[in-house]
Amino acid sequence: MATLLYLESLSDCFASWRKEGLTVLAPVGEGALSGFREVERAEEANFDLLITRTTLKELFFPRTEPMLGYRIGKREIETEEFMPPVEGRIIFGARACDSAAMAIDDALFDWDYHDEYWFRRRESSVVFTIACREPDEFCMCTSLGLSPDSAKGSDVLLRPLEAGNGWQVEPVTDRGHKALSSIEQHLREGSGATAAPAEVPVKFDLEACRSWLANKENFESPFWREISERCIGCGSCTYLCPTCHCFDIQDEGDTYQGIRRKNWDSCSFQLFTMHTSGHNPRATQGARWRQRIMHKFNYYGGKFDVDSCTGCGRCTRECPVDMGVTETLQTIAAKQKQSERT
């Protein structure tokens, strides 16, 4: 016997949570307009989407957020600290790749500094992940050691029923258990057959990639220039990436009053590493693309023992010039295998 949640009861579940003061967010919209937004009823959500264009990370690490207000007077300096609200949220219908990214980024945001902005939102949110039934040609979670039904970073895992009328419910964390207890009256015990998770082909050998990247001789390889020759240096791949987490701190206002904000930033930008002197240690797009790949598949693993990629495929799916992590890693894996043979 398993716990089942039928689609027809979902609006009642949303109502129960909302009654407790929780905000319910779900994937809505189509294509480029899709993302996670607040919903009241189940019909507003779009569970047919393979993946939203913008990622789950926006709900924890917004594009821009105020940190501090300041006003310098004649006699005193006034400051005001802005902290995100701790209102509870249910995020219903995330994908395994997006949820896993949250767990990956937890390590970074709790490393040399405990990032309150991130963790306040993490601790007040319950993530319900729905296992995928169908991949598209860009999906590559299995190449990163994950799967379409991975529970990493999720509080509750939902497996779609074969009939398409609901999900089998598997609580993962205490937060998940607690959220489920609020909707207990809408859950059923049963034995509905669950749909097989999506079959996502493995696209590259990650171990081979790690070895090639760890070889210091390859840092100056002409490969970096060749693979990124057509890169136009926009931030599309980094901003649509569920794990990319770099930010910039900007003061908006003037010397006497203003707001200090935390804004997304991207290693693809020329300005990202520009020194005041005008010298840029990553002067070319090839050096910037190398940084992105090295950060994800070498440095991050070295520090936190996990790669900073979940295989969602957005970088390739949305690149204006048809680049992305997949092709780069496929080429790197082939290079490593070739060097092992010779």
Binding site: G31, A32, L33, R53, T54, R63, T64, E137, F138, E229, R230, I232, G233, C234, G235, S236, T238, Y239, L240, D248, Q250, E252, R261, N263, W264, S266, F269, Q270, L271, T316, E318, P320, V321, D322, M323, G324, T326, E327
Partner: protein
């Protein structure tokens, strides 16, 4: 021989003879529907060059890659009429010398790709003139017509909604061959002229600054709209500005490389009293 084959062999000959050092064209992409920019330097690699109705990207911007043309050598590049006009504007704005650009011209008519005869930008003036005449008569598309019918407040609301999706990835700028500033105004941070934050004001500032900067310069190649990951209909803004400049000054950007920029030139006999 198909145009694809014809241009492949031309590219091969140009490279083999040393007439050009590189061919910038299109190759197959990750999926059968995709085409990607490719940079060919060896004659034997020319079989990778593809040309069909899916080749939409305006490649002219790649020529401005730092140092690429600094050795004075020629580069061959696949260009449609919009691409050729881009070369004219870039030459007029002193960003390149059109003598270094060997053109492999093509036009996409519905699903067919057709040859455009000519080698240098100056050879395409008739085709460009025909485009100008067609542009003058062109009716706005459905969404543009809807926007025209709105009052100012409604239009402002529409654009605020569209810009609210902007994530400030600057894909529009990076994909635009006209955005050649070595340091964009938004990247100037001492002082910070334009907010970098992706909030309502910051997004409005960015997208409007870019639209103004392209007035009378945009060739309507569509690179910006195709690059935008959140599908903001940026082309509508640029089309509107192009239409205004065309109507007010009979200025169609990129007619030839001596054309003065509409918003960076003046005449002493201008009827407007504020000029001089």
């Amino acid at each position: 021989m198909s145009l694809q084959e014809h241009y492949r062999s031309q590219a091969r000959e140009l490279l083999a003879a040393g007439a050009v050092k590189m061919v910038v064209g299109y190759a197959e992409g990750t999926t059968p529907e995709r085409r990607r920019p490719v940079f060919i330097t060896e004659p034997e690699e020319c079989s990778r060059l593809v040309l069909d109705a899916r080749c939409r990207t305006n490649l002219a911007g790649y020529l401005l890659r730092e140092g690429l043309l600094s050795d004075g050598r020629e580069i061959a590049v696949y260009l449609s009429t919009e691409g050729v006009r881009t070369i004219n504007i870039l030459a007029a704005e002193s960003q390149l010398s059109s003598a270094q650009v060997r053109i492999l011209g093509f036009e996409i008519d519905r699903d067919e790709v057709k040859a455009m005869e000519g080698k240098r930008a100056a050879d395409f003036s008739e085709a460009i003139l025909a485009h100008k005449e067609r542009r003058k008569k062109q009716a706005p598309d459905e969404l543009a017509a809807k926007l025209e019918a709105m009052n100012a407040a409604e239009r402002f609301t529409f654009w605020q909604g569209e810009f609210s999706r902007c994530i400030k990835c600057y894909a529009c700028r990076q994909a635009c061959p006209m955005c050649w500033c070595r340091r964009c105004v938004v990247d100037n941070n001492q002082p910070q002229w334009v907010n970098t934050s992706s909030h309502t004001l910051g997004n409005l500032e960015w997208n409007l600054v870019r639209a103004f900067h392209l007035a009378g310069r945009c060739v309507e190649c569509g690179n910006c709209g195709r690059a935008c990951p959140v599908d903001i209909p940026l082309h509508l803004l640029n089309r509107k500005m192009t239409g205004e400049v065309l109507e007010a000054f009979d200025h169609y950007p990129g007619m030839d490389e001596h054309q003065e920029p509409a918003l960076a030139s003046f005449r002493k006999d201008d009827p407007e009293t504020f000029i001089l």
